[in-house]
Amino acid sequence: EAHEGERGRDGEVKVIYWQAPSILNPYLSSGTKDVEASSLVLEPLGRYDETGALVPYLATEIPTLENGGVSEDLKTITWKLKDGLLWSDGTPFTANDVKFTADYCMNPEGGCAQLAKFEGVSSVEVIDDQTVKVTFSEPMPNPYGPFMGGQSPIIQAAQFADCTGAKAPECTEANFNPIGTGPFTVTEFRPNDVITMAANENFREAGKPAFATLTFKGGGDATAAGRAVMETGEFDYAWNLQLAPDVIAKMAEGGKGKPMSAFGTLVERLELNMTDASPDLPEGERATAKHPHPILSDEKVRRALSMAIDRELLVEVGYGQAGRATCNMVPAPELYASDNTDCLTQDIEGAKALLDEAGWTDTDGDGVRDKDGEKLALLYQTSTNAVRQDFQALIKDWWSQIGVETELRNIDSSVFFGGDPGSTDTFQRFYADVEMYANNFDGTDPQSYLAQRTCAKFPSPETQWQGENINRFCNEEYDAMVAELGRTGEMEKRGELAKKLNDMLTKDSYSILPLVDRGRVSAASNTLGGVVLNTWDSELWNAADWYRMEE
């Protein structure tokens, strides 16, 4: 192949992320930008590839039930490390480092951002220098939380030994220049600005990486990043171009690079509030289970709202190639994705009929339906973002066609997605009727994602408005099925259950209206070879394989 040769032969490669990394320790930040930047340096035992399949990195193979790496009771998983691995400083990589990584993150004072990856882990033991065993307190049908994927890479015990617990933030040097096993090492890290890297001399694969240095620029906006790759050719790779399709298409005409897209599990959805968030209610009772929503508690209304939406058009306007209309909360992987496509055709008339049926009619002729003197008016909020605002406008338009009045509201994303219990504008607090945002799940297993919709996970004043069941969906049957999923290890069975759960949230109840399965668009220069866009792991997962090619 063209890219073979000695390490560092292709000079410099330049990557631009419009969000700048602030730290290179993924355990202190779970921000995507930080995790992905650090994935050039730090590596996990195994990664997900572009299809979502598990591939070994530092481990010799992925432990499974079949190969005996995972115990029958689903309570332990044993990893075997590759031989002769070296840290970039030349010291050997051992099972100790793996155990240290777990201890580091599980330290109760450290505030580890990836703690969820280590959920249920009761102990990590070093069997020998090359073997490490993770034991869970409960059976784990999906034991690939720890040490799998960009979010839980292995850090060097020697470097971080003095940085555990409360001292974690003080180790600036280590957090900015972690020693790793990945293809690159940090030369200079300027937080929130730029990282310069050089090829790791001790990288385990000969002749890789092809580039001697890597410049990782951060900051600006997606437009500028796209422009720098596709129009001016100043950069080789631009991450996550959240731009309107026509804008991206125009940039691609620049001819210096091209956009790529891939799909994962990210779904843009409408959440319909099942509780009443009216400001007339006393504080403490607003948006709580005490008061069901006066309008949206009716399934017919919810269904009508869904029917009025033309999801294909939304995709065309907002995402183009990088989106697919979907009716599912869990759009992938195939095993878990339901075949539900009912919602894809817009049916304004049907929606009108449904509303009539539900008793909402336009008695006063102002174009807005009403019932018992109450108007069919909804407050629809989302975070500030150009595409979301276009969506809001379109959906408002459709809803107005079926006689629903919509008030739009957008909130700064740092407030909207922040969990500040004092703010009334957070998405958890949901002081609105309809809310739009996107969510996904890590890796390929949707269990914990689906478990978010159990009754116990309501955000409420008692929980300081923390909680993942954003729209306050509550169904005992659903809760029971989630529990069942947690006990099931058999893949087929798990798929069945997940699909059922997905359908209960969407086409059975219409409490969540999925809109678009959002793919990822990134752009690579025409001269950059070996890029494989991966939405299941860090986008830079295979940077070691990148090389320069002739145009």
């Binding site: 320790n25 300027r190 437009t223 703010s423």
Partner: protein, 345 residues
């Protein structure tokens, strides 16, 4: 003058303390959460743990007190340590280790001392924003002088027109416009500023020059608009003064009359206006820095705001407040120095 300065400096300490308190409360009260950028896949319990690790659970007054101690007591110690240990000037002094093991102001985003990052950001901010300020002034002053001298001439009218247009167009428009023209269409200039670029020879200087042109020009446009207005006004005030006639009666050349006698007097208010604008340089230029990826102080503040990195926002805002108070004082002192009629006692 000296006592005046010292008095004002001392008085500014309580002022600054008060300002810092107000800023602190404002930031505390403002909604927003440092966990806002953490992906939704991270469960709330983990976020809660992360918040605790940042010290968010503590009562407000303790957080404020900690910040005060860190900024006013520990950071100066760090500075002294730096001076005695590493700086070229004072390293002959015995090494001090005052700050060892003491907790500095730590950014929540980067988990590193805020001051280090600020210092790291200074060069590009000063280069770009500072140079833009200088360029703006250098362009504005002749325009102002000539507009006033040829009051209501075509030049004056055109100058007014262009500066007002320049003032009224936001940089988030001019910036991308320049990029589209000069980087995309013509391909002459880079659209992304390289902060790591080191100038060590002519070629690298040229590169630096190329990458600075656009941000500097966008910023300079605003400065030019304002300063040239002030300059024009001040010149107009002075051109009709009696001493100008005296100077002419001495047989001085018109250029000497205007450029020496009138200009010197007109510069007094303008210089103070310029001094008052200085803090803004250190404050960076949020939008322009962002458009050209200059990643100076302005961009730092913006990212910190977006990430609700309170220690960073607080410290940057406070530094800005210090500069404002300081440059207010400097403007006053400059006024006294430039105008012999003014004496502070």
């Amino acid at each position: 003058m000296l006592t005046f300065t010292i008095r004002r400096l001392l008085l500014s300490i309580p002022t600054l303390l008060f300002i810092s308190l107000v800023i602190f409360l404002l930031l505390q009260l403002a909604p927003g959460d440092p966990m806002a950028q953490v992906p939704l896949t991270v469960p709330p319990e983990v976020k809660e743990k992360m918040r605790e690790a940042l010290g968010l659970g503590q009562p407000i007054y303790i957080q404020y007190w900690k910040w005060l101690v860190q900024v006013f007591w520990i950071e100066p110690q760090v500075f002294i340590d730096y001076l005695t240990n590493r700086s070229a000037l004072f390293s002959w002094l015995p090494d001090t280790n005052l700050s060892d093991g003491k907790l500095r102001v730590i950014s929540w985003q980067t988990r590193s001392p805020v001051m280090d990052i600020v210092i790291q950001r200074m060069p590009q901010t000063l280069w770009v924003v500072g140079l833009a300020y200088i360029v703006g002034i250098v362009i504005a002053i002749p325009i102002g002088i000539y507009s006033a001298y040829r009051h209501y001439s075509v030049f004056d009218q055109a100058g007014t027109f262009i500066t007002m247009v320049g003032f009224s167009i936001p940089p988030f428009f001019t910036g991308p416009l320049l990029i589209v023209i000069f980087s995309v269409t013509l391909g002459w200039l880079p659209s992304i500023y390289d902060t790591t670029h080191v100038v060590n020879d002519w070629a690298s200087f040229k590169v630096q020059f190329m990458q600075m042109i656009m941000p500097v020009m966008v910023l300079a446009l605003q400065t030019t608009a304002q300063i040239s207005r002030y300059m024009r006004g001040a010149m107009l005030d002075n051109l009709n003064q009696d001493y100008v006639r005296t100077a002419r009666a001495k047989g001085l050349k018109e250029s000497v009359v205007v450029m020496v006698h009138v200009l010197r007097n007109s510069m007094i208010p303008v210089v103070t206006i310029i001094a008052l604008g200085m803090p803004a340089i250190f404050g960076g230029a949020i939008i322009t820095e962002n458009v050209f990826k200059v990643n100076g102080i302005g961009q730092l503040l913006l990212t910190a705001l977006r990430a609700n990195d309170l220690p960073m926002v607080m410290t940057l805002t406070f530094i800005f407040a210090v500069l404002i108070v300081l440059f207010n004082l400097i403007a006053d002192i400059l006024y006294g120095l430039l105008d012999p009629r003014i004496r502070y006692d």
